[in-house]
C-alpha cells in the first residue's frame, strides 16, 4: 500500500475541496447561462495570495497541473480545425481576419504602451484584447441554438483565422521574450515560423498517413499516444527556449484526419480538468487587492475592444450578405474573451514584464468573459424583436 504522509493527506483534502468548489461554481454558472471560466478565475483569486483562504499543500500540484492545462488548451486549439479548414479560411476570409486583427489588436497595443510596459508588454496586451474565446463562443452558439444561422459560418471563419494568427503570434512572442541581441531574436523567430509552416504542411498534406500511423482501435492507447507526443514536443520546445504552449499547439495542428476527431473527444474531459486548474492558478498569482486600482483602466479597455469586436462581426456579416439581425448576433457573440487571453496573460505574468499586467489582464478577462455572453444573450431576442416589428410594419404597409 502507498504510505500516505500527512502532506499527501492535506494535498488530497485541499485539491478535492477546490475541485468541488469549482464544480459548484460551474453549476451555478450553467444555471444562469454564464461560462464557468470567469468563476474559476474568481475562485483562484479568493484562495490565492491575499485572498480569503490560502491553499498551501495543493499549491505545487495546482501549479504543475496548470502547466499541463495550458498545454492541453493549446493542443485542443490546434485540434479544433483541420488543415483544410485552416487553408480555406485563409483563402476565403482573410479580409475578415485582417480587419479583426487590426481593430482588436491595436487598442491593446496602444494601451500597453500607455501603461508603460514597453514593446513586449504592449504586444502581449494586444494579443489579450485580440483573441476571442472560441470555447465560450461555441457554448453560447449551442445554448442559443444559433449554430445553424447564416451568420455562424462568418463567426467561425473569424475564429479560424484567429487560430492561425495565434500559430505565428505565440512563437513570435516566445522569441521576443527571450530577448538578447536582435540577430538571436530574429533567428529564434525564423526557426519558430519555419516550425509552424512545417506543421501546417504536415497537417494539410499528410493527414491520412498520420491518422493511419497513430490511430488505434483502443481509445486508451490513442489517449496515451497523443498526450505523450504532446508533452514530449512541448518539453523539447521549452528546452529550445520556445514556449511549451507553442509546441503543444503545433502538435494539435499537425494531427488531422479521423484521428483528430477521436482525439478531441478523448481529450476534452482531461482538458476541462487541467484547464480549470490553470484558471485557478492564474487567479492565485494575482492579489485581489490590486484589482480596484486597475479596474477603471481595464473597464475602458474592455468597452473599447467590445465595440471593436462588435464592429468586426457586424462588418464581416454585412459583407457576407447577412441582414440586420444576423449582423447584431455576429457582432455580439464575438465579444467574449476567455481562455486564450488568460494563456497570453499567463505568459506575460511569467515573463515578469510589469506587476500590473496580471491584475489588468485578470480584470479585463473577467469583464468580457462575463459581459460578452450576457450581451450576446440580450442581443439575440432583441434582434428577433426587431425582426418581428419590421415584419409587422411590412404587413401594415401591404
Amino acid at each position: 500500500m502507498l504510505a500516505a504522509s500527512p502532506g499527501a493527506a492535506d494535498l488530497l483534502v485541499e485539491l478535492g475541496g477546490i475541485l468541488l468548489v469549482l464544480a459548484v461554481l460551474g453549476r451555478v454558472a450553467g444555471k444562469v447561462g454564464l461560462p464557468a471560466i470567469p468563476l474559476y478565475l474568481l475562485a483562484g483569486l479568493l484562495v490565492g495570495e491575499g485572498g480569503l483562504v490560502e491553499l498551501t499543500a495543493a499549491r505545487d500540484f495546482i501549479e504543475q497541473g496548470a502547466q499541463i492545462g495550458v498545454i492541453l488548451l493549446l493542443l485542443m486549439l490546434g485540434l479544433e480545425y483541420s488543415g483544410d479548414e485552416l487553408m480555406s479560411a485563409l483563402r476565403q476570409n482573410s479580409r475578415f481576419g485582417a480587419l479583426d486583427l487590426g481593430l482588436n489588436f491595436i487598442p491593446g497595443l496602444i494601451a500597453g504602451f500607455w501603461f508603460g510596459w514597453g514593446l513586449n508588454g504592449a504586444l502581449l496586451l494586444g494579443g489579450i484584447t485580440y483573441i476571442s474565446s472560441s470555447g465560450i463562443i461555441a457554448k453560447v452558439l449551442d445554448d442559443l441554438e444559433n449554430t445553424g444561422n447564416r451568420e455562424t459560418p462568418v463567426v467561425l471563419s473569424i475564429l479560424v483565422t484567429e487560430d492561425l494568427v495565434m500559430a505565428f503570434y505565440l512563437p513570435l512572442m516566445a522569441g521576443l521574450l527571450i530577448g538578447g541581441d536582435p540577430w538571436g531574436v530574429g533567428l529564434e523567430i525564423v526557426i519558430a515560423v519555419t516550425a509552424v509552416v512545417v506543421s501546417l504542411v504536415i497537417a494539410v498534406r499528410f493527414s491520412s498517413q498520420i491518422s493511419t500511423v497513430l490511430s488505434d482501435r483502443s481509445a486508451e492507447i490513442l489517449l496515451l499516444t497523443v498526450i505523450g507526443l504532446t508533452l514530449l514536443v512541448a518539453g523539447l520546445a521549452e528546452h529550445l527556449q520556445a514556449s511549451s504552449a507553442v509546441g503543444a499547439f503545433l502538435v494539435g495542428i499537425a494531427l488531422s484526419g479521423p484521428v483528430e476527431q477521436h482525439a478531441r473527444e478523448l481529450l476534452a474531459p482531461l482538458r476541462d480538468l487541467f484547464a480549470a486548474l490553470f484558471f485557478v492558478y492564474f487567479g492565485f498569482q494575482i492579489d485581489p487587492r490590486d484589482l480596484p486600482d486597475v479596474l477603471l483602466a481595464a473597464t475602458v479597455l474592455a468597452v473599447i475592444t467590445a465595440l471593436t469586436k462588435f464592429a468586426t462581426g457586424w462588418w464581416s456579416a454585412a459583407r457576407s450578405g447577412i441582414a440586420l439581425a444576423g449582423r447584431i448576433r455576429a457582432g455580439t457573440i464575438l465579444i467574449a474573451r476567455g481562455e486564450f487571453s488568460i494563456v497570453i496573460a499567463g505568459i506575460a505574468v511569467a515573463s515578469g514584464i510589469d506587476e500590473t499586467i496580471g491584475p489588468v489582464a485578470a480584470a479585463y478577462v473577467l469583464l468580457l468573459a462575463i459581459g460578452g455572453p450576457l450581451i450576446a444573450r440580450v442581443a439575440d431576442p432583441l434582434s428577433s424583436n426587431l425582426l418581428a416589428r419590421r415584419r409587422a410594419a411590412a404587413r401594415v404597409n401591404a
Binding site: 479548414e85 451568420e151 455562424t152 475564429l159 473527444e265 419590421r390
Partner: protein, 163 residues
C-alpha cells in the same frame, strides 16, 4: 429537384440547406461528432433558424426512414413500369367480346400470352387478385402485368368478337 447548398462550419461540421416548393427553408448540420441538427429557417429572415432539433446518429436514421419510407413506395410504383421489360396496363373488355359473361379462366390469358390479371375494375370498384372463376362482364377493365408484347396480345384476346 430542390438545389441543395453546402456550407462548411469550421470546427463544427457541415451544413446543407434547401428551399422547399412551399418557400420553407430547411437545413441539416452534420457535426463532426456524428450528431445532426435539423433546422427550419425563419420565413422572413433566412439568416435565422427559428426551430432546431438535435439528433443522435440513431435518431437521425429513424427520421430519415420515416421521411424516406413514403417516397420509396411512390418511387417503386414509378419504377415498376420501367424495370426489366415488365409493364402494367389497363385493358377494356368490350361489350361484343366473346368472354363477356365468361370466367376469367376461360380466356386462358396466362397460357396464351404470359400476362397475368391482377385486378378487375368494375363500376369504380376494384376486385383485386381475381381467381380463374371470376366472371368478366362487358365494360370491365382488367389490370394486367406482363411483357409489352404479351399485353398487346392480351388486349386483342379480350376483345375477340363472338364467332
Amino acid at each position: 429537384m430542390a438545389e441543395i447548398s453546402e456550407t462548411n462550419l469550421p470546427g463544427v461540421g457541415l451544413r446543407h440547406e434547401f428551399v422547399c416548393e412551399s418557400g420553407d427553408r430547411i437545413g441539416v448540420i452534420t457535426r463532426h461528432s456524428g450528431r445532426r441538427d435539423l433546422l427550419i429557417f425563419d420565413e422572413d429572415d433566412p439568416d435565422t433558424v427559428s426551430e432546431s432539433a438535435s439528433l443522435t446518429p440513431d435518431e437521425a436514421r429513424i427520421l430519415a426512414d420515416l421521411l424516406g419510407g413514403a417516397t420509396l413506395v411512390e418511387r417503386f410504383d414509378d419504377l415498376r413500369q420501367h424495370i426489366a421489360g415488365l409493364s402494367i396496363d389497363w385493358l377494356p373488355v368490350s361489350e361484343s367480346s366473346k368472354f363477356a359473361g365468361q370466367a376469367l379462366g376461360a380466356t386462358e390469358m396466362r397460357t396464351r400470352t404470359g400476362v397475368s390479371a391482377i385486378a378487375v375494375l368494375r363500376a369504380g370498384q376494384a376486385i383485386p387478385a381475381p381467381g380463374p372463376d371470376q366472371v368478366l362482364l362487358g365494360g370491365d377493365t382488367v389490370v394486367v402485368v406482363g411483357t409489352a408484347d404479351g399485353i398487346d396480345a392480351a388486349s386483342h384476346l379480350l376483345c375477340t368478337p363472338e364467332s
